[in-house]
């Protein structure tokens, strides 16, 4: 009878950063998962234009939302880490206006939309927290818009690193200032709307300023306060405060 909390463990931890969850709500979340599947690196988790009928929750691995232009240029519009739904908004939007790709091998928990509907009907507070989750996704988009639109590349890169570190810290996936970062430089460039060459140069500048160490698959922030100041990083937009929602 009891559903394994396993797949929703980090989602629960993430939501508990926003508000208290009752035991019944945690059980209800666990019951939204119908199955878990694996998706390999660079495979689509969902495709643009798809109507999946379920939302995908990252259990392990990282993913990115993206859109492609006709010339093959790709803009990554969001990066997702474990505990994130990659397309919770699909529950209400139905058809996805973007694709989602696995940035490394991923384990995905599938939450059928009829089970999410059940949540909204039987657990209204939990339903509001799922809504809140999508609002934070939107807030992150706005912050990215400002960074991409108005920041110099080196500052926007610093900002992205600060954001990822802060999001991972909230779910216990950092080792102090160190964290796994399974994103290639090309993918970072696609997220920042920049050429790989300019991101390359920007990352070299962050190293030269002794702000970060970035080796294959791992980042260590060498001076957290300095990097945040350099990035004008204010974590308000991540809304990681516990308040009744």
């Amino acid at each position: 009878m009891s559903h394994d909390l396993g797949p929703v463990r980090l989602l629960v931890r993430k939501l508990q950063g926003y508000d208290e969850l009752s035991r019944a709500e945690v059980v209800a979340l666990a019951r939204t998962v119908s199955s878990v599947r694996t998706v390999g690196t660079d495979q689509d988790i969902v495709a643009q234009g798809e109507r999946p009928g379920y939302s995908s929750l990252l259990v392990e691995g990282w993913a990115a939302r993206y859109k492609l232009l006709k010339d093959g240029a790709r803009q990554i519009t969001a990066i997702h880490v474990p505990g994130d739904f990659v397309d919770l908004h699909g529950f209400l939007l139905h058809e996805l206006d973007h694709g989602v790709v696995a940035l490394c091998d991923c384990r995905i928990a599938m939450a059928p939309h009829e089970r999410l509907r059940g949540i909204t009907e039987q657990h209204p507070h939990l339903g509001r927290l799922l809504w809140f989750n999508t609002l934070v996704d939107a807030s992150i988009h706005r912050e990215w818009l400002v960074a991409i639109g108005r920041m110099a590349a080196v500052n926007a890169l610093a900002h992205l690193i600060c954001e990822i570190h802060t999001r991972l810290e909230a779910i216990g996936l950092t080792d102090g200032p160190r964290f796994d970062f399974p994103i290639t430089q090309v993918e970072v460039a696609d997220a920042l709307g920049l050429s790989n060459v300019h991101v390359n140069r920007s990352s070299q500048e962050l190293r030269a300023r002794n702000l970060i160490r970035w080796t294959s698959g791992m980042i260590e922030i060498l001076d957290v306060d300095q990097l945040k100041a350099f990035a004008q990083f204010d974590p308000l937009y991540l809304y990681q405060t516990r308040e009744p929602r």
Partner: protein
């Protein structure tokens, strides 16, 4: 894929120690132009009086492309 290094000189040398893999000369040209535009946009301080130069070098150390910008300012005589 061959690797290319995009060295920049502007008020000091900023060598590319990492490089970028690109399939062909068209890609090198296109990537260099985009990167130069992005760097120009980010320049902190006046471009006037200092030349901004990008030199693209292949793995053998041969220069394959050069891009440069310079701004000169005029001060017309007041009537």
């Amino acid at each position: 894929m061959p690797k290319y290094y995009f060295h920049v000189a502007f008020k000091g040398e900023h060598p590319d120690t990492i490089g970028t893999d690109l399939p062909d000369r068209d890609a090198v040209r296109s990537e260099a132009t985009r990167a130069a535009g992005e760097a120009l946009k980010d320049i902190d301080g006046p471009l006037v009086g200092s030349e901004w130069r990008m030199t693209v070098v292949d793995e053998a150390g041969q220069v394959v492309l050069r891009i440069s910008f310079m701004a000169t300012e005029e001060h017309p005589h007041e009537p």
